[in-house]
């Protein structure tokens, strides 16, 4: 579990990139918090810099679009999904639970 920032520091429509390996992007979109792997599966671009529309984030480089809920690409050029990670808010602080660590613990 990785602390990200306080909830009020990530208003609706905002995103933050966490410099972990591999980097993770956290979004406040459509009234929810989402965390996905930050690097577009198509080419080297940071999805945290992408354009948000509802639950979709568009890669800033090539218009590949990913569903924040599932990590699945909704159109080309991306063909592979990004990983999604569980997000919780504890005492007003956003936390990301990396899916690889959660699976390892399960």
């Amino acid at each position: 579990m990785i602390p990200v920032c306080r909830l009020e520091e990530l208003p609706e429509g905002a995103s933050v990139r966490m410099d972990v390996e591999p980097p993770i992007a956290v979004f406040h979109a459509d009234g929810e918090l989402y965390a996905i792997d930050d690097t577009c599966t198509h080419q080297d671009a940071s999805l945290s810099e992408g354009y948000l529309e509802g639950c979709l984030v568009e890669c800033p480089l090539h218009e590949a679009s990913f569903d924040l809920r599932t990590g699945r690409p909704t159109c080309l050029p991306a063909r592979r999904p990004v990983r999604t990670h569980r997000v919780t808010v504890d005492d007003g602080v956003i936390h990301v639970h990396r899916s690889d660590e959660e699976n390892a613990a399960a």
């Binding site: 080419q43 992408g50 354009y51 568009e58 800033p60 480089l61 050029p77 063909r79």
Partner: protein, 398 residues
Amino acid sequence: MRTVTVVGASLAGLYAARELRAQGFDGRLVIVGEEQHRPYDRPPLSKGFLSGKAGESDLALSDDEETLELGAEWMFGARARGLDARGRTVLLEDGRTVSTDGVVIATGARARRLPGPVLPGVHTLRTLDEARALRADLRRGTQRVVVIGGGFIGAETASSCAAMGHDVTVVEAAPLPLLGQLGPEMAAVCARLHERGGVRLVTGTGVAALEGEQAVTGVRLTDGRLFPADVVVVGIGAIPNTEWLAGSTLAVHDGVLCDDGCVTSLPQVVAVGDVARVGGARAEHWTSATAQPRVAVRNLLAGHTVEHVRPLPYFWSDQYGSRIQFAGRREQDDVPRIVEGSTEEGGFLAVYERDARTTAVLALDRPRPFTRIRRELARAQAPAPVSTPAAAAEPAAV
């Protein structure tokens, strides 16, 4: 239509093949590619591939699963040398022919070279094989690199070479690199990136000759100066691959002439990507190559033009740790205005305006607001008008 042949197995050709299947074409699909490689993405060649950050497997545009699903007959290492007058037979250089009902021309463009024989150490950068050769030369210790041409390929190559520790000089014939694309104010701003990256930028002078006997040793400029060089990269534009169509009935002038729907003078022949002059303009943009095939294939299968395509010109460039993005149709006297950030440091967003209307947008490290304006511009221009000025590509002297 029982057989469709896609000539060209790069980005636009692959997208056309995908569209054929997606739009219900279940006949025989033949894909002819001059190179030996499966479709790969070219933009990384001057960036991550050169510096070693990306390998060849990172370049793949498709995978085994999709290749299987497409159910196409791939012919690699097969160079087309002709199309018969009716557009029903594709002739290959090795003597084979492909009989076909429909043709998608996606033969792209090749790097323009300097006249004369090519000395060892002199490179162009467009294909994977060219990138491999350049990368091999750059791995032989620290080199003096001269890049001829300050356009995107030149600037990205220079940036990659500098990051690898080489001593780099960029020679640009125009007063500033990217002058035609960005205008004088913004071209001057972007030119400063070279300096920031530790690269020498020499402008306003052409190349008189490459020096060297067995291998290149230097670049002689028209103003008399000589820059010693172990490696020279020539990035002076691209020439559309249309020579193979010489015996056909198709009209060719700096690209295959098409209507606004990518349809040539033969209704069962369409053209997409760098080789296509669509509605008077040829756009050597990644996004044009991916946007045109859907419409081209629709018109091909319909037998006539039922839809026009006019993607908003969009290009990007990664150099010296910064990302430049540009979208829109800038005309010569459109005035740029900084709307966010600063040209001095940390990136900026600029819009070009004419009569209080935004015509184009330029960003340096401002991807999110850039995308917002790019989308607004794309929305504003739809639906595509039929007659358009040829602003996206300048006719090259051939």
